[in-house]
Amino acid sequence: MIVPEKFSLNNHKCWICGYRKLDVEKKMSPRYLCFWCSPSEEGEEQLTPELLINDLILEAGEHLRNGNLIRCEDIDVLSLIADIGDLGGRHPHFKQFTSMIGLIAVQVVLEKSYTPRKLLKVAEGATLNEKWKRVCQCIFFLTDVSLLEHGEGRYIQDRFRPSNLLLELTSSIESVSKVEEELPPRIANCIAGYALLYGIKTSIEWLKKDGQGEPTGIIRLYPRNSHGKIWIPKRFTATTMYLMGHLAHGYDEFSENELRAWLSNRGITGNDASWIINWLNRTIPSAHRLVNPRFDGITYHFSFNINYIRMRERVRERIRGRSR
């Protein structure tokens, strides 16, 4: 992907959650990240959102790689990333990319390869050129997150073939479902969630290295105009980072008030904030198992799924063990 000449990130905000920084914070927190997405003062043994995402990716990768069935209902890590995928699948901009990931998976299951041209039917854009740009964005993104790998053919300079991980995980999809009819939504969400979370991880690493060169990870998928201006699809990224951050900080519950206050600092208010609350309390039909919503008489109160809390404790213990 060629970065436009005018492309430049400014340090006024976090490029993952969209937090607008104060002058003091610009000096204190990493240049393109905020104190939430990349806390700098915490000790090595402290669980941060970034560490939690890293461990989730590692653990999910192991489950996907071992060729067993993708049992999102039984394996807590896969269930959590499927929930994140569900959120991504409902975002107006990320929806097309999650569909593309699903389509690639189905093609790889059936043919052990994929045809990029087939992705055009789910890509959004007014012209074919725009649609093709989106497909390219998705392919480069999947290369960043290790679901595709870059190689050179004899006649084609850039060749993106399915990685071993994608081949292994699709072999287990083949055995559980009739993919020629439809990819089961929870499994599709799981693969998309894995890619998106991995994308966030890769982008955080890239931003920590001062964002030099081509953007990698989820930033590749951010919408941009011809002048190089980039928008952050905060309804997905900010919500994900809030949930990951809250879980990582050791809390089991949160309320609508807290979530709204947190989102409003990221410029998400009104209908967008209400949409997120509605998605969490499943007023909008969704299949996530992230939180248990309860109405306390004034606002909604959310408790994390007990399995995810246990998973968090497991990750925390692992990090503590590593620092010994």
Binding site: F254, S255, N257, E258, R294, D296, G297, T299, H301, S303
Partner: protein, 294 residues
């Protein structure tokens, strides 16, 4: 008293209790707790607030009100009764129990209703042998260092009064002096109108904490508390004091929360509170008790 919830102070169009306080979970867990405390008080001679979980919870709730200026005279009355009772003086003159200009009679009636003292609207009151005030005194003698047993009396009274208020409000209007209103003081404003002063920062905090606990929530933040308090007209310095009280910034420390932390959710830190795990277990036990009773 018709325009505010008589338990927590929320402005109301009609009725005497707000939705928060007349919630069935609130009532059932309050009833279970009070019954459990009463049973334990009959069985034991000690009010060991440091090891007994139920007594500890009641004492912690009482500690929230010990610093409230509207309740100072009542705290002094309780302290005096505990002290004099401990010295063996069982009969006291009512005139000796007057602190400031506040009318002590509704409070003495409340103590009489819950059998802490015997009072028949004469000039004297007496402390019966089975009064919990004597047990509290005994407990303080056993462990005199920073013992929150005295706060148990205020917490116990408030919860019993709260339950009584809810029971009365189901059938008829609650009059001044009945139930929790005995802790409120009546004054006249400049226009000669009678004004009821309720220690909102105590009762509303109690209602919030107890309500959250009764609903099974284990965590809340300053923002949740603020939203609850703003509706009841508690803002600014008064709210800061509640926050300081809950975050143990004052000398009277309680054990409600196992984790009190400041979370940077945006440009300013927000306090978050995580309920003591032992109180979560107590809640489960009481809920089971309420379920069996139901």
């Amino acid at each position: 008293m018709s325009n505010r919830c008589i338990v927590c102070g929320e402005p109301l169009q009609q009725g005497q209790l707000c939705n928060w306080c007349k919630d069935s979970r609130f009532e059932s867990i309050l009833r279970s707790l009070v019954e459990n405390v009463d049973e334990q008080l009959q069985q034991t001679t000690r009010i060991d607030v440091k090891t007994n979980l139920t007594f500890s919870l009641i004492a912690d709730l009482g500690l929230l009100g010990i610093r409230h200026p509207y309740l100072t005279s009542f705290s002094k009355i309780l302290a005096r009764l505990i002290n004099e009772g401990g010295k063996g003086k069982r009969v006291l003159k009512i005139d000796d129990l007057r602190y400031g200009q506040k009318n002590p009679f509704p409070f003495l009636s409340l103590l009489n209703t819950f059998r802490l003292i015997k009072y028949n609207e004469q000039t004297n009151i007496s402390i019966p042998d089975d009064s919990i005030l004597l047990k509290i005194r005994h407990e303080i003698d056993v462990d005199p260092k920073r013992n929150p047993a005295a706060a148990f009396a205020l917490g116990y009274l408030t919860l019993k009064a709260m339950l009584q208020t809810i029971d009365i409000a189901k059938t008829r209007m609650v009059d001044y002096g009945e139930g929790i209103t005995a802790l409120y003081s009546a004054t006249r404003d400049r226009g000669g109108q009678i004004k009821i002063m309720m220690p909102k920062s105590y009762v509303a905090t109690l209602s919030f904490i107890f309500g959250y606990w009764a609903r099974g929530f284990t965590e809340f933040s300053e923002l949740d508390l603020h939203r609850f308090m703003v509706i009841r007209g508690i803002t600014g310095k008064e709210f800061s004091e509640i926050l300081a009280n809950l975050s143990c910034a004052f000398a009277t420390t309680h054990a409600f929360y196992e984790r009190i932390s400041a979370e940077y959710i945006g440009r300013m830190p927000v306090y978050r509170f995580k309920l003591n795990e032992e109180y979560v277990r107590l809640y489960e036990r009481l809920r089971e008790r309420a379920r069996i009773r139901g």
